[in-house]
Symmetry: C2
Subunit: 410 residues, 2 copies
Amino acid sequence: MISVEEALAKILGSIKVLDAAETPLLQCLGQVLAEDIYAAIDVPPKDNASMDGYTVKAKDISGANASSPVYLDIIGEAKAGDVSNLEIKTHKTVRIMTGAPLPKGADAVVPFEDTDETQRTERPAKQIGIMKAIKKGQYVRFSGDDVAKGQLTLAKGTVLRPAEIGVLASLGMEKAKVIRRPVVAILSTGDELVEPGKPLAEGRIYSSNSYSIAAQVLRCGGILRLLGIAKDTVSDLEAKIKEALTADLLLTIGGVSMGDYDLVKDVLAAHGEISFWKVRMKPGKPLAFGMIKGVPHLGLPGNPVGAMITFEVFARPAILKMMGKTRLAKPTVEVIMEDSARNTDGRRVFARAVVRKENGRYYARTTSLQSPHTQISMSQANALVIVPEDIDAVKAGDTVKAIMLDWNEE
Amino acid sequence: MISVEEALAKILGSIKVLDAAETPLLQCLGQVLAEDIYAAIDVPPKDNASMDGYTVKAKDISGANASSPVYLDIIGEAKAGDVSNLEIKTHKTVRIMTGAPLPKGADAVVPFEDTDETQRTERPAKQIGIMKAIKKGQYVRFSGDDVAKGQLTLAKGTVLRPAEIGVLASLGMEKAKVIRRPVVAILSTGDELVEPGKPLAEGRIYSSNSYSIAAQVLRCGGILRLLGIAKDTVSDLEAKIKEALTADLLLTIGGVSMGDYDLVKDVLAAHGEISFWKVRMKPGKPLAFGMIKGVPHLGLPGNPVGAMITFEVFARPAILKMMGKTRLAKPTVEVIMEDSARNTDGRRVFARAVVRKENGRYYARTTSLQSPHTQISMSQANALVIVPEDIDAVKAGDTVKAIMLDWNEE
């Protein structure tokens, strides 16, 4: 048996970051920048007012206060989006709106509340009384304050979140070059499987793993190619696998253990280089990995919990790496156990658990069902408590690591 | 000024959970079940083998061990998906594959490794030696073990994650009734705004808020309706707002402060019931909320940081509530400050910060830029450190709450 780390290192060693494509800005959310972004413009492009008020030369009003206002001549108005040819000379002012470019000669903005405009019944036409001295630069957003033209604004490799999408838009970009999302083909195998929505013949079960795995693929940003169910025949398997050869990753579910009808491993071995591993983890021991005509293939175990957990541990990091991401692990927290979890045979146990937070600490209780065969047991958990290989059991009160399957993010 | 809690309570008090629709299973990811799901079938439907091996009556092999195997007559084979008419009578066995239904009369499965099959050069045709006694029920997945027919499997209100999608598929469901996602209309206002990708005339700036807010909407599950930029005229505003009346939520950006050209508030007030609030928070003080012909409207401030933070604090919970979710707050962690953050005027400060984890504890450092006007400052942060209203400052070493903007989940 190989360790989780060995298996993951081998898989990631065969996974390449995908190519990049110019992509409309909003579609870039969650993707990785494929190039350094240098600002093509200053942001903001011009010095402008950050408050509504009167723009002035600060030195003109250095003696202003509420009891002895300084009166300035109003020579015009400036609103956002306007280009003004006005120029502020000594003791002149322009009434200005937030975002409007500062007229030539102005170096500060006095907000309305520090003028006598608010005391008047009509808007002043000729003169305004300034009732407070302000410093040069006050309430001015200077050109290039946010981003200076030519500046490295976002580096290659940055994951584009809403804030970064906004930054790119502020530079005038409607597209960005990002690493594309992988197309992930999913193939279930087994004569016993029936697609949901179809009648269930006797002796059959519904194909549920392909749905949970497909949802996991969507969640980490992959594009689905659902290949359906392959029958336990060489010809059907070969036909389905052919459809996967233009995908970036093939995930098969089941068919890689010891059964006579577990043909997947034979077919895959005939068409590519496949390793069959026993990984020192529970659930999820049997795992296949290889390359079929250049397409990485990960063969997940057929039991529902093993499939989902090996997806989290191996397939998700592979998909994230393809997308150019570097933080490949799910977040973990230190939890205080409220019950015990055993490790019977020296494998790393990923025990389904419910983690809750109380007074700033995390507490974990394992779910009652721990069989790898029950799809429903994963739905009772929000975390996987880890019992390390070299520890027989974790007990109530022990502090251990838990992988969070979900934050309350969706 | 009203508190964050008062503002949020008023907003959520006006927001209704949307109606439900039958939705294809994979599209349900992240949505909320609108009905209790009772299992239409047993899962698994039949008792079946959980290992490849020989299925037996356990009592027949109670004396078996490696030195004196118990020999059983092989009467046939059972593979997954097969319906077998075989019946196990005393001292008979059927060779069985994982997932295959148990023949009548069988009550346990002996894995290959506990038989003498693995010691032979050819597969046994007539008899198999069982080398280990096992208990009744061993390596059998019993009908209904996972979910029993008629059982409440997933309750109304459950958020459908990959595990729940798998559970619904295991019941044979190809669709589920979930609360639909809200259509969120976004309208930027201001004559100074230019769409990214277009030439930037003098005095103008690129419309970036609409992109960051749109990305935030996508992230929390809304469906976008981008209304573009409204000019600072009543007629243009009215035309754009008309387009929002079939949406579930209207978000406007800017136009709600004191400037003469901040017409949004006048137009909205003329068409609906709008409250203009000053909320005791920083950034994000000016906020509008109301109903326009039945459509909730949230007017976010025009500065990039205030817009994004008020989105997180008010718009995101509103969208999640529409989707039927009940956990509306972003996850918070307790962080140890590495620098200080001030509160100058009794408002709750949401300070942009970088939170990192070390030895199981979280540490926060505020970003150098804290101006609400710089789009880029949000891209430097992964969290918002909260300085409460009644505290002047938090200092290095203090433990405070931080709202996590991101886990490393995307």
